[in-house]
Amino acid sequence: MSGTAPAAPSAVGQGLPRLEVREKVFGQALYVDDLVRPRMLHGAVLGSPIPHGRIKTWDKSRALALPGVKAVIVGPELPAHHLGAFIKDEVALAREKVRYIGDAVAAVAAVDPATARQALGLIDIEYEELPAVFDVEEAQKPDAPLLHENYETYIKVFPAEFSGRNVLSISTVSEGNVDAAWAECDVIVEGVYESPAQAHAYLETNGALAEFDAAGKVTVWSCTQSVFKVQAAVSEALGLPMSKIRAIATRIGGGFGGKAEPGTQIIAAMLAQATGRPVKVILARDEDFTMMRVRHPAKVRVKTGAKKDGTLIAREFDATYDAGAYADDSPGVMGFGVLMARGPYRVPHVKCVGRAVYTNKLRTGAFRGFGNPQTAFAGEANLDDLAAKLGLDPLDLRLKNAMRPGDTWVGGQKVEACGLVECLEKLRKASDWDKRRKAPAASKPGRKRGIGVACLAHISGVLATSAIVRLLEDGSFSLNTGAVDIGQGSDTTLAQICAGSLRVPIDKINLVNPDTDASPYNWGTGASRVTYTVGRAVAAASDSVGEQIKQRASMIFECAPADLELREGGMVGVKGVPGKALPYGAVAGFSHFVAGGPIIGTTALMFDGPGFDPKRALLRGVPFSNLGAYVFGVQAVEIEIDEVTGKIEVVEVWSAHDVGKAINPQSVEGQIQGGVVQGIGYALTEWVEWDGGRVVNPSFMDYKIPGALDVPYAIHPIIVEHPEPSGPFGAKGVGEPGLIGVAPAIRNAIAHATGVRLGIMPFTPERLWMAMRGEA
């Protein structure tokens, strides 16, 4: 693989500007709401007004009578279908039951968005209201309302384990013998840690535009994290063959997991089918807040035991994730949260259990960290409590137990590349940890200062990916992967990997926009996977092209391909003979006549590294067989607390991450800083609030994401590079990690500043103020 090339090619390791940056600063980037088609209509979706009920009657006559309304669709008019990434428990529009306030029940197409929304209010649906349940513990009681009466008959795409009322999935991971291990421990600390629902709050709401052609093929433009999931979901819902569906990604205004599963695309397609006209559906902000998905609220009990010297012996973890009304990505999120529960430490005895439970609230799903932020909050807060009880510095405790290269993840997956120790050491130095930890000087009287730390690990990898690299006639290249850049910069990073492998400047690479009509399969953007997994495919396809260039050139030079080398700038030449070389364009021209056209390299792959070891560990109900390359990091946050109000100010943040190799250091820093700020929001100001089944803060006025003055300028990314042997140029992912350790680091900083050890997020002024007075 290219990673073994002696000198790093010029395109790799540079903070190059985004390929698409000019269109974004010029206001020319086209997001889905910017697209217009001839005779286009506008769609809107009606959500259920009640949290749980049966639909008795539909009457759409008043809505259809409104001038400008072209179609009204209700559930029974759609073909029978089932949707869901892990468990097929959803339909595009409710047919019999509604299960949360906002559950889609009808859709309208009209001449403009205002008319469409006006028509929603004229659709008459009669419900028989059923008792509803909003709390995971209530939902598991024997007499609780049952959300999915036919749960056992649903199709599940993994060996799901479930028992108990409204429990949709249980995952168990255990290793060693926890029950016996407690006797070996000198100190045991147990706690319960609760975290709230966080909204993705991408600045661009979900939306889609669909148009049928005369042959019955539909094109769907949308903001999505996977055009292939869009194609599959539209096929499932409308009963169309996938060959009749073309999904295209527009520019995307942020995703963070919230655009991973299709929704508006199906609505737009069904309305376009019903009207015979293009239909665009763009959710209003409150609709997006109440109808899409949020991060799982979780309640986690953690118990950790150690020797007096801080050697970790055992950990027990028991978590309940609130799935809301539909499974969505819950089995994966919860299962992954459980798999992360030991943390990046050497702990011989571990038992981790999680369950996802239905409630009559908005579905919860993928969101940056995918179950890991909830786990990390609990695990890293608990570890800090353990350090306090042992009288050890929390950073020392982590360093003592940190995973090293060659160690295994829980489940037995061997980890070859692990820069956690270096992350800890660099962070300690950069943050001047020992000094700040010993003498926290507040800026003025009435304020308390503290610094806290949290480690994290995550994966990058997961599922299928592919790449096609084509040499064009003039020696430039076309790169096509189907992987969607949702704003994180993967297009540029992949182009750098391609350019680096083929030793050409990045402007020689044309990045093909994801399009199911043209792109090879890609599961999607998520799981911090694009740089690592898609990057591997890109590097392999590029290397294949490089080998073919050499093979063709060997015919011209009349030598063996092994005697040739690719040279910086896009030349193929004879090794050791500087003057004997040809530009790629000449080889491309030659290929036209001897090899049936330009050179093409294709690769399809999945993570093929070590998997779980069933002899070593027990894994049940975990919807993954193996995951990908593990990534590691550590974060420290310094805060200052106003003792009068309880308000927390984040003063400075250090975030050290082993990324294997930073293909584009500027993008890596951007991912880290952006993740940190989402983590600050998660810890301090962001939570979706329900009154019964109703979301009461579905707006940016009432749901507070951090602004520039709410976070410090000084967020220091620290890039550590321990090359991942299987990664492109040694790289692995960094999309999610920046968020994961922030909340526990802040929580631990609060403990450092005040002695208060909070167990419930977010750390609002009121909550902290009460706790400081012993009224928690």
């Binding site: 600045l203 704003g487 300028y713």
Partner: protein, 155 residues
């Protein structure tokens, strides 16, 4: 319908508008200037920021019919042809752009700041940008971009 003449990016556009139509809607739907973004439609996120007589304004909260005779500048009116403005160039170089959805509003807010204050401190930049939400960057690199632009501008 109300007849109004808008001056957008130096071009005069005569439009018949509904009295309730926002400037954002008029720019995007009537004039095809889609660089101005709809984020929250209630004046919180700043994605719809344009300059009205040189000052940043939330076009989702401004009625278009009230803008007759005022100079409106959108993101499409900042560059000199294909040459980016100093602020745009700084955003390109510093990695201040991720998904790009907040970018037009950020750039216009920064343009307005630097027109009235050529050498703002980091805190003054943060203050000026505090009404424009970004969900991707964590703000540090956007602040860097504005700082870089300010250093490149003559006092």
């Amino acid at each position: 319908m109300i007849q109004v003449e808008l001056d957008v990016n130096g071009e005069r556009e005569a439009l018949a508008l509904d009295g309730g139509q926002t400037l954002l809607d008029a720019l995007r739907v009537r004039l095809g200037l889609t660089g101005t973004k709809l984020g929250c439609n209630q004046g919180v996120c700043g994605s719809c920021t344009v300059l009205i007589d040189g000052k940043p304004a939330r076009s989702c909260l401004v009625l278009a019919v009230g803008c007759g005779g005022r100079k409106i500048v959108t993101i499409e009116g900042i560059a000199d042809g294909a040459k980016p403005s100093v602020v745009q160039q700084a955003f390109i170089e510093t990695g201040a752009v991720q998904c790009g959805y907040c970018t037009p509003g950020m750039i216009l807010t920064a343009e307005a700041l630097l027109r009235r204050h050529r050498r703002p401190s980091l805190d003054e930049i943060r203050e000026a940008l505090s009404g424009n939400l970004c969900r991707c960057s964590g703000y540090s690199k956007i602040v860097d971009a504005v700082k870089l632009a300010s250093e490149r501008m003559p006092v």
